[in-house]
Protein backbone atom coordinates (compact mmCIF):
# COMPACT_ATOMS: atom_id res chain seq x y z
CA UNK A 1 0.00 0.00 0.00
CA UNK A 2 1.33 3.40 -0.97
CA UNK A 3 0.20 6.85 0.16
CA UNK A 4 1.00 9.96 -1.86
CA UNK A 5 0.30 13.64 -1.40
CA UNK A 6 -1.77 14.83 -4.37
CA UNK A 7 -1.93 18.47 -5.41
CA UNK A 8 -4.47 19.12 -8.11
CA UNK A 9 -7.09 21.51 -9.42
CA UNK A 10 -7.00 24.67 -11.50
CA UNK A 11 -4.27 27.19 -10.59
CA UNK A 12 -6.81 29.41 -8.86
CA UNK A 13 -8.49 26.49 -7.09
CA UNK A 14 -5.68 24.25 -5.93
CA UNK A 15 -6.47 21.41 -3.60
CA UNK A 16 -4.64 18.96 -1.45
CA UNK A 17 -5.46 15.30 -1.19
CA UNK A 18 -4.00 11.98 -0.17
CA UNK A 19 -3.94 9.20 -2.69
CA UNK A 20 -3.88 5.68 -1.25
CA UNK A 21 -2.91 2.99 -3.72
CA UNK A 22 -3.03 -0.80 -3.39
CA UNK A 23 0.11 -2.88 -3.66
CA UNK A 24 -0.98 -4.70 -6.78
CA UNK A 25 -2.31 -2.54 -9.62
CA UNK A 26 -4.62 -2.41 -11.42
CA UNK A 27 -6.99 -1.57 -8.60
CA UNK A 28 -10.16 -3.47 -7.90
CA UNK A 29 -12.15 -0.23 -7.77
CA UNK A 30 -11.56 3.46 -7.18
CA UNK A 31 -13.06 5.51 -4.38
CA UNK A 32 -13.36 9.25 -4.07
CA UNK A 33 -14.03 10.27 -0.47
CA UNK A 34 -15.78 13.64 -0.13
CA UNK A 35 -15.47 15.63 3.09
CA UNK A 36 -18.31 17.19 4.99
CA UNK A 37 -18.18 20.86 6.02
CA UNK A 38 -16.33 22.66 8.81
CA UNK A 39 -16.09 21.01 12.18
CA UNK A 40 -17.70 17.87 10.75
CA UNK A 41 -14.67 17.55 8.46
CA UNK A 42 -12.27 17.96 11.40
CA UNK A 43 -14.11 15.37 13.47
CA UNK A 44 -14.37 12.82 10.63
CA UNK A 45 -10.79 13.12 9.34
CA UNK A 46 -9.68 9.99 11.13
CA UNK A 47 -12.60 7.98 9.77
CA UNK A 48 -11.64 8.98 6.24
CA UNK A 49 -8.06 7.81 6.79
CA UNK A 50 -9.23 4.49 8.19
CA UNK A 51 -11.63 4.02 5.28
CA UNK A 52 -8.89 4.84 2.76
CA UNK A 53 -6.46 2.40 4.35
CA UNK A 54 -9.07 -0.34 4.52
CA UNK A 55 -10.10 0.13 0.90
CA UNK A 56 -6.50 0.20 -0.29
CA UNK A 57 -5.90 -3.08 1.53
CA UNK A 58 -8.88 -4.46 -0.39
CA UNK A 59 -7.21 -3.52 -3.66
CA UNK A 60 -8.88 -0.16 -4.27
CA UNK A 61 -7.33 3.19 -5.20
CA UNK A 62 -8.61 5.96 -2.98
CA UNK A 63 -8.41 9.76 -3.05
CA UNK A 64 -9.49 11.82 -0.04
CA UNK A 65 -9.11 15.56 -0.29
CA UNK A 66 -9.93 18.96 1.16
CA UNK A 67 -12.17 21.17 -0.94
CA UNK A 68 -10.60 24.51 -1.91
CA UNK A 69 -10.77 26.94 1.02
CA UNK A 70 -11.10 24.14 3.57
CA UNK A 71 -8.72 22.03 5.64
CA UNK A 72 -5.17 22.04 4.31
CA UNK A 73 -6.13 23.21 0.83
CA UNK A 74 -5.40 26.83 0.00
CA UNK A 75 -8.13 29.44 -0.32
CA UNK A 76 -10.44 31.35 1.95
CA UNK A 77 -13.50 29.62 3.38
CA UNK A 78 -15.56 32.79 3.12
CA UNK A 79 -15.23 32.85 -0.70
CA UNK A 80 -16.68 29.39 -1.37
CA UNK A 81 -20.00 28.17 -2.76
CA UNK A 82 -21.59 24.78 -3.36
CA UNK A 83 -21.07 25.26 -7.10
CA UNK A 84 -17.34 25.82 -6.54
CA UNK A 85 -17.10 22.68 -4.45
CA UNK A 86 -18.98 20.62 -7.05
CA UNK A 87 -16.35 21.73 -9.57
CA UNK A 88 -13.64 20.78 -7.06
CA UNK A 89 -15.15 17.34 -6.67
CA UNK A 90 -15.12 16.81 -10.44
CA UNK A 91 -11.47 17.93 -10.51
CA UNK A 92 -10.70 15.42 -7.76
CA UNK A 93 -12.43 12.72 -9.79
CA UNK A 94 -10.28 13.62 -12.80
CA UNK A 95 -7.17 13.51 -10.66
CA UNK A 96 -8.02 10.05 -9.37
CA UNK A 97 -8.85 8.72 -12.84
CA UNK A 98 -5.81 10.23 -14.54
CA UNK A 99 -3.27 9.37 -11.88
CA UNK A 100 -4.23 5.75 -11.84
CA UNK A 101 -5.38 5.11 -15.39
CA UNK A 102 -8.61 3.86 -13.98
CA UNK A 103 -10.67 3.79 -17.12
CA UNK A 104 -11.62 0.18 -16.62
CA UNK A 105 -12.35 0.04 -12.92
CA UNK A 106 -15.60 0.94 -11.21
CA UNK A 107 -15.71 4.38 -9.65
CA UNK A 108 -17.36 4.91 -6.26
CA UNK A 109 -17.97 8.22 -4.55
CA UNK A 110 -18.51 8.37 -0.80
CA UNK A 111 -19.73 11.49 0.98
CA UNK A 112 -20.62 12.27 4.57
CA UNK A 113 -23.19 14.97 5.50
CA UNK A 114 -22.77 17.94 3.12
CA UNK A 115 -20.11 15.93 1.27
CA UNK A 116 -22.85 13.44 0.35
CA UNK A 117 -24.97 16.20 -1.18
CA UNK A 118 -21.99 17.50 -3.11
CA UNK A 119 -21.29 14.01 -4.45
CA UNK A 120 -24.90 13.57 -5.57
CA UNK A 121 -25.04 16.99 -7.22
CA UNK A 122 -21.66 16.53 -8.88
CA UNK A 123 -22.73 13.11 -10.22
CA UNK A 124 -25.44 14.89 -12.24
CA UNK A 125 -22.85 17.17 -13.84
CA UNK A 126 -20.01 14.70 -14.23
CA UNK A 127 -18.81 14.13 -17.79
CA UNK A 128 -17.96 10.61 -16.65
CA UNK A 129 -20.45 9.45 -14.07
CA UNK A 130 -19.39 7.38 -11.09
CA UNK A 131 -20.82 3.87 -11.00
CA UNK A 132 -21.93 4.06 -7.41
CA UNK A 133 -22.66 6.65 -4.74
CA UNK A 134 -22.62 5.99 -1.01
CA UNK A 135 -24.33 8.93 0.69
CA UNK A 136 -23.87 8.82 4.46
CA UNK A 137 -26.23 10.94 6.52
CA UNK A 138 -26.77 13.53 3.77
CA UNK A 139 -28.37 16.91 4.39
CA UNK A 140 -32.05 16.71 3.43
CA UNK A 141 -32.74 20.43 3.75
CA UNK A 142 -30.05 23.06 3.49
CA UNK A 143 -32.21 25.51 5.40
CA UNK A 144 -32.54 23.04 8.28
CA UNK A 145 -28.83 22.27 8.07
CA UNK A 146 -28.06 25.98 8.48
CA UNK A 147 -30.36 26.10 11.50
CA UNK A 148 -28.64 22.98 12.84
CA UNK A 149 -25.21 24.59 12.55
CA UNK A 150 -26.43 27.70 14.34
CA UNK A 151 -28.03 25.59 17.08
CA UNK A 152 -24.87 23.51 17.50
CA UNK A 153 -22.83 26.71 17.73
CA UNK A 154 -25.02 27.91 20.60
CA UNK A 155 -25.03 24.49 22.28
CA UNK A 156 -21.30 24.04 21.88
CA UNK A 157 -20.61 27.38 23.52
CA UNK A 158 -23.23 26.85 26.22
CA UNK A 159 -21.88 23.40 27.04
CA UNK A 160 -18.31 24.66 26.84
CA UNK A 161 -18.96 27.55 29.21
CA UNK A 162 -21.38 25.66 31.45
CA UNK A 163 -24.09 28.28 31.22
CA UNK A 164 -27.26 28.68 29.22
CA UNK A 165 -27.23 30.70 26.04
CA UNK A 166 -29.20 33.65 27.43
CA UNK A 167 -26.78 34.07 30.33
CA UNK A 168 -23.80 33.63 28.05
CA UNK A 169 -25.09 36.38 25.80
CA UNK A 170 -25.80 38.62 28.75
CA UNK A 171 -22.56 38.14 30.66
CA UNK A 172 -20.01 37.49 27.90
CA UNK A 173 -21.53 39.57 25.13
CA UNK A 174 -21.46 36.52 22.88
CA UNK A 175 -23.02 37.51 19.54
CA UNK A 176 -25.98 35.60 18.13
CA UNK A 177 -24.59 33.41 15.30
CA UNK A 178 -25.97 33.98 11.83
CA UNK A 179 -25.54 32.92 8.21
CA UNK A 180 -23.60 34.31 6.48
CA UNK A 181 -21.19 34.48 9.38
CA UNK A 182 -18.95 32.37 11.52
CA UNK A 183 -20.44 29.15 12.89
CA UNK A 184 -18.50 26.70 15.03
CA UNK A 185 -15.32 28.60 14.14
CA UNK A 186 -15.77 28.34 10.36
CA UNK A 187 -16.70 31.13 7.99
CA UNK A 188 -19.78 30.75 5.80
CA UNK A 189 -19.77 33.41 3.10
CA UNK A 190 -22.76 34.98 1.41
CA UNK A 191 -22.67 32.64 -1.61
CA UNK A 192 -22.53 29.46 0.47
CA UNK A 193 -25.24 30.72 2.83
CA UNK A 194 -27.53 31.44 -0.14
CA UNK A 195 -26.75 28.02 -1.63
CA UNK A 196 -27.65 26.30 1.62
CA UNK A 197 -31.05 27.98 1.71
CA UNK A 198 -31.79 26.48 -1.71
CA UNK A 199 -30.30 23.05 -1.03
CA UNK A 200 -32.74 20.15 -1.03
CA UNK A 201 -32.30 16.40 -0.61
CA UNK A 202 -29.96 14.53 -2.95
CA UNK A 203 -31.60 14.04 -6.39
CA UNK A 204 -31.94 10.30 -6.01
CA UNK A 205 -34.62 9.66 -8.62
CA UNK A 206 -32.73 11.47 -11.37
CA UNK A 207 -29.51 9.67 -10.53
CA UNK A 208 -31.23 6.28 -10.45
CA UNK A 209 -32.73 7.06 -13.86
CA UNK A 210 -29.21 7.68 -15.08
CA UNK A 211 -28.26 4.17 -14.04
CA UNK A 212 -26.29 4.87 -10.89
CA UNK A 213 -26.34 2.50 -7.95
CA UNK A 214 -26.90 4.45 -4.73
CA UNK A 215 -26.54 3.60 -1.06
CA UNK A 216 -28.11 6.13 1.28
CA UNK A 217 -27.66 5.96 5.04
CA UNK A 218 -29.99 7.90 7.31
CA UNK A 219 -31.05 7.59 10.90
CA UNK A 220 -34.13 5.33 11.14
CA UNK A 221 -36.58 8.19 11.77
CA UNK A 222 -35.51 10.19 8.75
CA UNK A 223 -35.31 7.05 6.65
CA UNK A 224 -38.90 6.21 7.54
CA UNK A 225 -40.07 9.77 6.78
CA UNK A 226 -38.19 10.18 3.54
CA UNK A 227 -40.05 9.13 0.42
CA UNK A 228 -37.40 7.15 -1.37
CA UNK A 229 -37.80 6.28 -5.03
CA UNK A 230 -38.24 2.59 -5.76
CA UNK A 231 -35.62 0.55 -7.50
CA UNK A 232 -33.24 -2.29 -6.95
CA UNK A 233 -30.33 0.09 -7.49
CA UNK A 234 -31.18 2.00 -4.30
CA UNK A 235 -29.93 0.58 -1.04
CA UNK A 236 -31.40 2.32 2.03
CA UNK A 237 -29.30 1.89 5.17
CA UNK A 238 -30.56 2.62 8.69
CA UNK A 239 -27.76 4.19 10.72
CA UNK A 240 -27.29 2.10 13.85
CA UNK A 241 -25.55 4.73 15.94
CA UNK A 242 -26.24 8.33 14.91
CA UNK A 243 -23.17 10.49 15.53
CA UNK A 244 -22.90 14.21 16.08
CA UNK A 245 -20.06 15.00 13.68
CA UNK A 246 -19.88 18.60 14.90
CA UNK A 247 -18.62 17.58 18.35
CA UNK A 248 -15.00 17.91 19.35
CA UNK A 249 -14.77 14.61 21.10
CA UNK A 250 -16.08 11.14 20.60
CA UNK A 251 -17.69 10.99 24.06
CA UNK A 252 -17.79 7.24 23.77
CA UNK A 253 -18.97 7.22 20.14
CA UNK A 254 -16.69 5.45 17.68
CA UNK A 255 -14.21 7.56 15.76
CA UNK A 256 -14.77 5.44 12.69
CA UNK A 257 -18.11 3.61 12.94
CA UNK A 258 -17.89 -0.05 11.97
CA UNK A 259 -21.15 0.30 10.08
CA UNK A 260 -19.60 2.77 7.62
CA UNK A 261 -16.71 0.40 6.94
CA UNK A 262 -19.08 -2.54 6.53
CA UNK A 263 -21.25 -0.62 4.08
CA UNK A 264 -18.26 0.53 2.05
CA UNK A 265 -16.82 -2.97 1.81
CA UNK A 266 -20.22 -4.49 1.03
CA UNK A 267 -20.64 -2.15 -1.90
CA UNK A 268 -17.44 -3.50 -3.45
CA UNK A 269 -18.47 -7.09 -2.94
CA UNK A 270 -21.96 -6.59 -4.37
CA UNK A 271 -20.78 -5.17 -7.64
Amino acid sequence: MEHLIARFGAPDREMLGILSLPDAPPGRAAWLLCNPFGQEAVRSKQMYRILAERLAREGCSVLRFDFHGTGDSPGEAVDQSLGDWISDLLAADMCLRSRQRLAAVTMHWFGLRLGANLAALAAQRAPRRPDQLLLWDPVLSGREYGEFLLARHRESLSDGMHMNWARLRRESGEPEPSLPGNVLGFDVGAALAADLVRLGPPPLAALLNDGLRIGIALDPDRLARMQLPCGAALDPIAIELPIDWTSNDAYGAPIAPQQVQRAVLASIVHR
Binding site: V42, R49, G71, P175, G185, D249
Partner: protein, 300 residues
Protein backbone atom coordinates in the same frame (compact mmCIF):
# COMPACT_ATOMS: atom_id res chain seq x y z
CA UNK B 1 1.88 32.63 2.52
CA UNK B 2 2.79 29.16 1.32
CA UNK B 3 1.81 25.73 2.56
CA UNK B 4 3.27 22.34 1.92
CA UNK B 5 1.96 19.05 3.23
CA UNK B 6 4.44 16.20 3.61
CA UNK B 7 4.88 12.73 4.99
CA UNK B 8 7.79 12.51 7.40
CA UNK B 9 9.48 10.29 9.97
CA UNK B 10 11.47 7.09 9.41
CA UNK B 11 8.45 5.16 8.17
CA UNK B 12 6.98 8.19 6.34
CA UNK B 13 3.68 7.61 8.13
CA UNK B 14 3.41 10.95 9.92
CA UNK B 15 1.85 13.83 8.06
CA UNK B 16 2.26 17.53 8.63
CA UNK B 17 1.67 20.84 6.91
CA UNK B 18 4.38 23.50 6.76
CA UNK B 19 3.12 27.07 6.63
CA UNK B 20 5.56 29.85 5.94
CA UNK B 21 5.79 33.37 4.59
CA UNK B 22 6.71 34.54 1.12
CA UNK B 23 10.38 35.16 1.99
CA UNK B 24 13.01 34.49 -0.62
CA UNK B 25 13.78 30.84 -1.06
CA UNK B 26 16.59 29.70 1.19
CA UNK B 27 15.97 32.35 3.82
CA UNK B 28 16.17 30.79 7.25
CA UNK B 29 13.99 31.77 10.16
CA UNK B 30 15.35 31.94 13.68
CA UNK B 31 12.31 30.49 15.38
CA UNK B 32 9.76 27.88 14.34
CA UNK B 33 6.43 26.84 15.81
CA UNK B 34 5.13 23.31 16.29
CA UNK B 35 1.38 22.74 16.43
CA UNK B 36 0.17 19.30 17.50
CA UNK B 37 -3.14 17.55 17.98
CA UNK B 38 -5.71 18.46 20.57
CA UNK B 39 -7.02 15.13 21.77
CA UNK B 40 -8.03 13.01 18.79
CA UNK B 41 -8.80 15.92 16.49
CA UNK B 42 -6.90 16.29 13.23
CA UNK B 43 -4.06 18.78 12.85
CA UNK B 44 -6.30 21.64 11.73
CA UNK B 45 -7.27 21.75 15.39
CA UNK B 46 -10.60 22.22 17.14
CA UNK B 47 -12.70 24.57 15.00
CA UNK B 48 -9.66 25.04 12.77
CA UNK B 49 -7.57 26.95 15.35
CA UNK B 50 -4.21 25.45 14.31
CA UNK B 51 -4.85 26.49 10.73
CA UNK B 52 -5.73 30.04 11.78
CA UNK B 53 -2.66 30.22 14.02
CA UNK B 54 -0.31 28.89 11.36
CA UNK B 55 -1.47 31.43 8.80
CA UNK B 56 -1.27 34.29 11.32
CA UNK B 57 2.29 33.28 12.25
CA UNK B 58 3.32 33.17 8.60
CA UNK B 59 2.34 36.84 8.34
CA UNK B 60 5.14 37.68 10.80
CA UNK B 61 7.48 35.35 8.90
CA UNK B 62 7.47 32.60 11.50
CA UNK B 63 7.25 29.14 9.92
CA UNK B 64 5.17 26.46 11.54
CA UNK B 65 4.47 22.78 11.20
CA UNK B 66 1.09 21.42 12.25
CA UNK B 67 1.14 17.66 12.34
CA UNK B 68 -0.88 14.58 13.21
CA UNK B 69 0.72 12.18 15.63
CA UNK B 70 0.55 8.43 15.05
CA UNK B 71 -2.96 7.11 14.64
CA UNK B 72 -4.57 10.55 14.71
CA UNK B 73 -5.97 12.47 11.73
CA UNK B 74 -4.12 11.50 8.56
CA UNK B 75 -1.11 9.85 10.25
CA UNK B 76 -0.93 6.09 10.38
CA UNK B 77 0.20 3.93 13.26
CA UNK B 78 3.84 2.81 13.28
CA UNK B 79 4.66 -0.84 12.78
CA UNK B 80 6.02 -1.09 16.33
CA UNK B 81 4.18 1.50 18.41
CA UNK B 82 5.50 2.62 21.78
CA UNK B 83 3.29 3.21 24.81
CA UNK B 84 1.01 6.20 24.13
CA UNK B 85 2.96 8.88 25.99
CA UNK B 86 6.33 7.79 24.62
CA UNK B 87 4.96 7.60 21.10
CA UNK B 88 3.51 11.11 21.41
CA UNK B 89 6.89 12.47 22.49
CA UNK B 90 8.72 10.62 19.73
CA UNK B 91 6.27 11.86 17.10
CA UNK B 92 6.67 15.44 18.31
CA UNK B 93 10.46 15.18 18.16
CA UNK B 94 10.21 13.81 14.63
CA UNK B 95 8.03 16.81 13.74
CA UNK B 96 10.73 19.11 15.12
CA UNK B 97 13.32 17.25 13.01
CA UNK B 98 11.15 17.77 9.94
CA UNK B 99 10.64 21.49 10.60
CA UNK B 100 14.34 21.94 11.32
CA UNK B 101 15.33 20.23 8.09
CA UNK B 102 12.82 22.24 6.10
CA UNK B 103 13.40 25.70 7.52
CA UNK B 104 16.89 25.51 9.02
CA UNK B 105 15.51 26.52 12.40
CA UNK B 106 17.18 25.37 15.61
CA UNK B 107 14.86 26.93 18.17
CA UNK B 108 11.20 26.05 18.45
CA UNK B 109 8.19 26.86 20.48
CA UNK B 110 5.21 24.58 20.75
CA UNK B 111 1.63 25.65 21.14
CA UNK B 112 -0.40 22.86 22.69
CA UNK B 113 -4.13 22.69 23.30
CA UNK B 114 -5.53 20.48 26.05
CA UNK B 115 -3.74 17.12 25.79
CA UNK B 116 -1.46 18.82 23.25
CA UNK B 117 -0.19 20.87 26.21
CA UNK B 118 0.73 17.59 27.89
CA UNK B 119 2.64 16.46 24.80
CA UNK B 120 4.38 19.85 24.60
CA UNK B 121 5.81 19.94 28.11
CA UNK B 122 6.75 16.25 28.11
CA UNK B 123 8.60 16.66 24.81
CA UNK B 124 10.36 19.81 26.03
CA UNK B 125 11.73 17.81 28.96
CA UNK B 126 13.54 15.60 26.45
CA UNK B 127 14.30 17.98 23.60
CA UNK B 128 16.25 21.16 24.17
CA UNK B 129 15.26 22.56 20.81
CA UNK B 130 11.96 23.49 22.41
CA UNK B 131 12.67 26.86 24.00
CA UNK B 132 9.13 28.07 24.54
CA UNK B 133 5.76 26.57 25.39
CA UNK B 134 2.31 28.05 25.12
CA UNK B 135 -0.02 25.74 26.98
CA UNK B 136 -3.78 26.14 26.55
CA UNK B 137 -5.79 24.55 29.39
CA UNK B 138 -3.03 22.33 30.77
CA UNK B 139 -3.68 20.37 33.98
CA UNK B 140 -5.91 22.17 36.46
CA UNK B 141 -5.50 22.07 40.22
CA UNK B 142 -8.60 23.47 41.95
CA UNK B 143 -8.22 25.51 45.13
CA UNK B 144 -10.54 26.13 48.06
CA UNK B 145 -11.30 29.55 46.60
CA UNK B 146 -12.22 28.11 43.19
CA UNK B 147 -14.61 25.67 44.88
CA UNK B 148 -16.28 28.42 46.90
CA UNK B 149 -16.60 30.68 43.86
CA UNK B 150 -18.16 27.88 41.86
CA UNK B 151 -20.61 27.11 44.63
CA UNK B 152 -21.64 30.77 44.75
CA UNK B 153 -22.13 30.74 41.00
CA UNK B 154 -24.26 27.62 41.11
CA UNK B 155 -26.50 29.07 43.82
CA UNK B 156 -26.88 32.22 41.73
CA UNK B 157 -27.70 30.21 38.59
CA UNK B 158 -29.92 27.47 40.07
CA UNK B 159 -31.08 28.83 43.42
CA UNK B 160 -30.12 27.15 46.69
CA UNK B 161 -32.40 24.07 46.36
CA UNK B 162 -31.34 23.52 42.74
CA UNK B 163 -27.65 23.87 43.56
CA UNK B 164 -27.99 21.47 46.49
CA UNK B 165 -29.80 18.95 44.30
CA UNK B 166 -27.14 19.19 41.60
CA UNK B 167 -24.38 18.84 44.23
CA UNK B 168 -25.99 15.77 45.75
CA UNK B 169 -26.37 14.13 42.34
CA UNK B 170 -22.70 14.75 41.53
CA UNK B 171 -21.60 13.48 44.95
CA UNK B 172 -23.73 10.34 44.52
CA UNK B 173 -22.24 9.73 41.07
CA UNK B 174 -18.69 10.12 42.40
CA UNK B 175 -19.43 7.84 45.36
CA UNK B 176 -20.93 5.19 43.06
CA UNK B 177 -17.85 5.29 40.82
CA UNK B 178 -15.58 4.89 43.85
CA UNK B 179 -17.64 1.95 45.12
CA UNK B 180 -17.47 0.28 41.71
CA UNK B 181 -13.69 0.67 41.69
CA UNK B 182 -13.40 -0.68 45.23
CA UNK B 183 -15.63 -3.65 44.41
CA UNK B 184 -13.66 -4.49 41.28
CA UNK B 185 -10.37 -4.33 43.17
CA UNK B 186 -11.75 -6.48 46.01
CA UNK B 187 -12.81 -9.11 43.48
CA UNK B 188 -9.40 -9.02 41.86
CA UNK B 189 -10.73 -7.55 38.63
CA UNK B 190 -9.34 -4.67 36.70
CA UNK B 191 -10.80 -1.51 38.15
CA UNK B 192 -12.68 0.73 35.71
CA UNK B 193 -10.71 3.78 34.69
CA UNK B 194 -11.40 6.79 36.90
CA UNK B 195 -13.71 9.39 35.43
CA UNK B 196 -11.88 11.58 32.98
CA UNK B 197 -11.40 15.21 34.04
CA UNK B 198 -10.57 18.11 31.79
CA UNK B 199 -10.83 15.67 28.84
CA UNK B 200 -8.00 13.58 30.28
CA UNK B 201 -7.86 10.21 32.01
CA UNK B 202 -4.83 11.04 34.14
CA UNK B 203 -3.71 14.17 35.98
CA UNK B 204 -0.30 14.06 37.69
CA UNK B 205 -0.05 15.40 41.25
CA UNK B 206 0.49 19.16 41.38
CA UNK B 207 3.95 18.76 42.91
CA UNK B 208 5.05 16.47 40.09
CA UNK B 209 3.78 18.82 37.40
CA UNK B 210 5.37 21.80 39.14
CA UNK B 211 8.72 19.95 39.30
CA UNK B 212 8.59 19.32 35.55
CA UNK B 213 7.83 22.96 34.79
CA UNK B 214 10.59 24.09 37.18
CA UNK B 215 13.06 21.89 35.34
CA UNK B 216 12.10 23.57 32.06
CA UNK B 217 12.24 27.06 33.56
CA UNK B 218 15.72 26.35 34.97
CA UNK B 219 16.78 25.47 31.43
CA UNK B 220 15.53 28.85 30.20
CA UNK B 221 12.33 27.66 28.54
CA UNK B 222 9.75 30.45 28.29
CA UNK B 223 6.38 29.14 29.46
CA UNK B 224 3.08 30.87 28.90
CA UNK B 225 -0.09 29.29 30.22
CA UNK B 226 -3.62 30.28 29.28
CA UNK B 227 -6.71 28.93 30.99
CA UNK B 228 -10.08 29.21 29.29
CA UNK B 229 -13.41 29.73 31.01
CA UNK B 230 -14.37 26.20 30.02
CA UNK B 231 -13.92 24.62 33.44
CA UNK B 232 -15.72 27.03 35.75
CA UNK B 233 -16.03 24.38 38.44
CA UNK B 234 -12.28 24.04 38.69
CA UNK B 235 -10.54 27.11 37.31
CA UNK B 236 -12.45 30.34 37.74
CA UNK B 237 -10.33 33.28 38.86
CA UNK B 238 -7.40 35.15 37.42
CA UNK B 239 -4.62 34.21 39.81
CA UNK B 240 -5.71 30.68 40.62
CA UNK B 241 -2.52 29.32 39.13
CA UNK B 242 -0.48 31.16 41.75
CA UNK B 243 -2.58 29.64 44.52
CA UNK B 244 -2.40 26.15 43.01
CA UNK B 245 1.39 26.24 42.93
CA UNK B 246 2.07 28.30 46.04
CA UNK B 247 5.41 27.27 47.50
CA UNK B 248 6.49 25.37 44.38
CA UNK B 249 8.78 28.16 43.19
CA UNK B 250 7.32 28.47 39.71
CA UNK B 251 4.32 30.79 39.88
CA UNK B 252 6.34 34.00 39.51
CA UNK B 253 8.36 32.59 36.64
CA UNK B 254 5.43 31.70 34.39
CA UNK B 255 3.18 34.08 32.53
CA UNK B 256 -0.34 32.86 33.17
CA UNK B 257 -3.54 34.31 31.73
CA UNK B 258 -7.19 33.55 32.29
CA UNK B 259 -9.67 34.11 29.44
CA UNK B 260 -13.05 33.63 31.13
CA UNK B 261 -15.03 34.33 27.94
CA UNK B 262 -13.29 31.66 25.88
CA UNK B 263 -14.43 28.05 25.89
CA UNK B 264 -12.03 25.13 26.02
CA UNK B 265 -12.23 24.32 22.30
CA UNK B 266 -12.24 27.93 21.07
CA UNK B 267 -15.59 27.67 19.35
CA UNK B 268 -16.23 31.36 18.78
CA UNK B 269 -14.40 33.67 16.44
CA UNK B 270 -13.83 36.15 19.29
CA UNK B 271 -12.02 33.59 21.45
CA UNK B 272 -9.96 32.41 18.46
CA UNK B 273 -8.97 35.98 17.66
CA UNK B 274 -8.00 36.62 21.30
CA UNK B 275 -5.81 33.52 21.41
CA UNK B 276 -4.19 34.23 18.03
CA UNK B 277 -3.32 37.79 19.08
CA UNK B 278 -1.74 36.59 22.33
CA UNK B 279 0.17 33.79 20.61
CA UNK B 280 1.50 35.91 17.77
CA UNK B 281 2.65 38.68 20.12
CA UNK B 282 4.28 36.12 22.40
CA UNK B 283 6.13 34.39 19.56
CA UNK B 284 7.21 37.76 18.18
CA UNK B 285 8.53 38.82 21.60
CA UNK B 286 10.49 35.58 21.94
CA UNK B 287 12.02 36.12 18.55
CA UNK B 288 13.02 39.66 19.44
CA UNK B 289 14.36 38.69 22.84
CA UNK B 290 16.37 35.73 21.64
CA UNK B 291 15.92 32.49 23.49
CA UNK B 292 18.80 30.23 24.40
CA UNK B 293 20.03 28.28 21.41
CA UNK B 294 19.67 24.58 21.79
CA UNK B 295 22.67 22.36 22.15
CA UNK B 296 23.61 20.45 19.01
CA UNK B 297 20.60 18.39 18.18
CA UNK B 298 20.31 14.87 19.42
CA UNK B 299 17.38 13.58 17.45
CA UNK B 300 14.92 11.05 18.82
Amino acid sequence: MKESTVFFGPERILIGTHTFGDEAAGATADLGVILGNAGLLARTGPHGINLTLARALSRISVPSLRFDKSGVGDSRRPSNPLPFEQQSILDTRLAIDEAQARHGVRRFVMIGFCSGADDAHLTALQDERLCGLLLWDPYIYPTLKSRVLYLQDRVRELGLPGAMGRGLRLAARALYAQLQRGRALALGRQAPAPLARYWRSYIPPATQYAARLRQLLDRGVDIKIIYSGGFPGDYNYANQYRDSFRGCGIADRISCMYLPNADHTLTSRASQQALVKIAVEWVDSLRARGLPTAAPVAGP
